[in-house]
Symmetry: C2
Subunit: 371 residues, 2 copies
């Protein structure tokens, strides 16, 4: 479980021919006394600036303000955040240390409620306090850091395999529509939905990508366009309202998006605006795929109705680039996610393959098979 090379996770990206010109989404810098270095995504595409986090509070804040975002990436960030938040307690009695792990874990989970990868990573790291060597909190902490590196490494590999499985869905000479950013910037490398595009691009396939700008925070315009253009993939940005008529024009043969949480029945929580996209895809008989690692499934929730949907501040809608556009006297409604019913999802691309059709039985199967 120990990891001799903390930089191994980050180096994953350099193996990808299509994303190696990008700054790294996140990486651990240094050894046990190191820090988590994040690419500040709130500043993209204008400025490429890194932000170093040395405490759990730094990581909480970075997740909260979307300096780091994307379900896989915030899972990895939270794992490292748990290490940072408990580092001062290395060497304390194990009871006190374990209590601290639980406390910091709960705190980190409060940063954003919808993406389940966050609590999944916190749970996976926290479990180490129950391990055989739990008598020595210093050793437990080192194991926690190693496990965080492992999560990061696995995330890159998982995303790479998602792309490999899904690349065949990319229509040769056709158009692919995506929403928000489910790319290398949303993960350690490759991304989820965009991983399909990177894999197809590496196979020298030709296609066009249409990226919904994704209001309110414009992750499509700022991030998806940024990373696809950097990889040399043809990308066109549109406002959400134009997606349905674009589909009607015949320009789109595939819709593929990421996910923040998938319920046991296959209902998918993803960035707000995903659900109307799925409705429009259905109306135009265009396949609608979700790409997500297995860690995005939450089998404890029977349906999407139980997924908590984060509501964010009014000013994300009312104010753009420091300028307020909404008239005084009006309120704003700003849910960060919506839920797409499983019946609208053609298939889900995971690291284990493509799950299609999306049924509770098929979902249960992929977890039963792997334990």
């Amino acid at each position: 479980m120990t990891d001799p090379d903390p930089a191994a996770a980050a180096s994953e990206r350099s193996r990808s021919p299509t994303t190696n010109s990008l700054p790294r989404t996140l990486e651990w810098i240094g050894g046990s006394d190191g820090c988590l270095r994040l690419l500040d995504q709130t500043l993209l595409p204008d400025r490429v600036e890194m932000r170093d986090c040395s405490t759990a509070e730094d990581v909480w804040e970075a997740i909260r303000v979307l300096c780091v975002r994307g379900a896989p990436a915030i899972g990895v960030a939270a794992a490292y955040g748990l290490c940072l938040g408990t580092r001062p307690f290395r060497g304390k009695p194990t009871d006190a240390f374990s209590a601290k792990v639980a406390e910091v874990g709960e705190y980190l989970c409060s940063s954003r409620p919808t993406a389940v990868n966050l609590s999944w990573a916190v749970r996976r790291i926290s479990r180490l306090t129950l391990a055989e060597n739990a008598g020595d909190s210093g050793a437990v902490w080192e194991a926690m850091l190693s496990e965080s590196h492992a999560i990061a490494r696995e995330d890159a590999e998982t995303c790479r395999r998602i792309g490999e499985h899904g690349a065949r869905l990319i229509p040769e000479g056709g158009g692919v529509l995506t929403h928000c950013n489910a790319g290398a910037l949303a993960a350690v490398a490759h991304g989820t939905a965009l991983s399909l595009m990177y894999a197809a691009h590496a196979q020298l396939r030709r296609f066009r990508v249409f990226a919904n700008e994704t209001r309110p925070l414009l992750q499509g315009a700022r991030l998806t366009a940024f990373e696809l253009a950097a990889a040399g993939i043809d990308v066109t940005v549109l406002c959400e309202g134009a997606a349905a008529s674009l589909m009607r024009s015949g320009a789109i043969q595939l819709v593929v998006v990421g996910a923040d949480r998938i319920a046991a029945n296959g209902d998918v929580a993803n960035k707000v605006g995903t659900y109307p996209l799925a409705l429009a895809a259905q109306a135009h008989e265009i396949p609608f795929y979700v790409a997500a690692p297995r860690s995005t499934f939450d089998l404890s929730l029977p349906t999407g109705d139980q997924i908590p949907i984060e509501e964010r501040a009014d000013d994300e809608v009312s104010t753009i680039g420091g300028k307020r556009f909404v008239a005084a006297g009006a309120r704003c409604y700003n849910p960060a996610f919506d839920v797409t019913p499983a019946r609208l999802v053609t298939g889900i691309v995971t690291e284990s393959g493509i799950l299609e059709p999306v049924t509770p039985e098929k979902i249960a199967d992929i977890f039963a098979a792997r334990g």
Copy 2:
């Protein structure tokens, strides 16, 4: 046909208890040597500034940059623009004058291609060159100005009647969703879709309005929120992507939008983003109404497929408030309108009543009945 009081049209608004705190969308100032005064809607809600147009070029530019916008308002503006553009030719031989009317009319119609009210108004004014008094171009011009005043007056009255007919659709204690701005700012007064809300509000009915912000130019956030809040109507702004999940939550009982052109079969061109809204309304069994004057129908087009859809500049999508958000290397797709098939439209509220269901026969009937 002459109009002794050029300010009559503008005074219509002051009779409305709900919109009289608003600046006037457009009004003719002075007599025959006057000018067209427009509220510059590109500056709202920050600044209330008027823009005076003295030439056809001024009006063309004002329509082009959306200083004045909304199908009914640009019809009225074009009528006055035609007067302004031909004013220097008063007293010329009638052949030369008529040729100038045709030339300026064609020029004004080139400002924006989708809203049919523009060419409708230009045709109505141009027809006067064929009238009995056409031997005197000075008299024809005076008749053109009077007819423009008449169009403005009628527009206010037409919109008032749309509101009167449609007010009963507003759900008591419920939620109404609208897109873009089809309000007093899109017409001489009252508006089309929002006229229903003003009429219901005047009847002391209680309801909430949800306004799609309407990217790229944010007419919902800037204009609809502005005029509804000014009228004391409860209004909440949301991003387009959140509309479908808002419907799913049960908060919306009615969707009502305006229109820029309606084909003979009832297909509706309106601001881009209307079509996905209609798809979402259908999925949630929420009535979807269009409110538009009869001048918005274009019976020369059998279906919406023949409606020309304006594509506007990339920078409307890429740049907000002077700041570019789209990454370098990415293009933008920016159609200004989309077409909603008649089968998704529950009914069309016109000044003649509510046309429901929307069939080519019913549409032909309302025109046959009126000539």
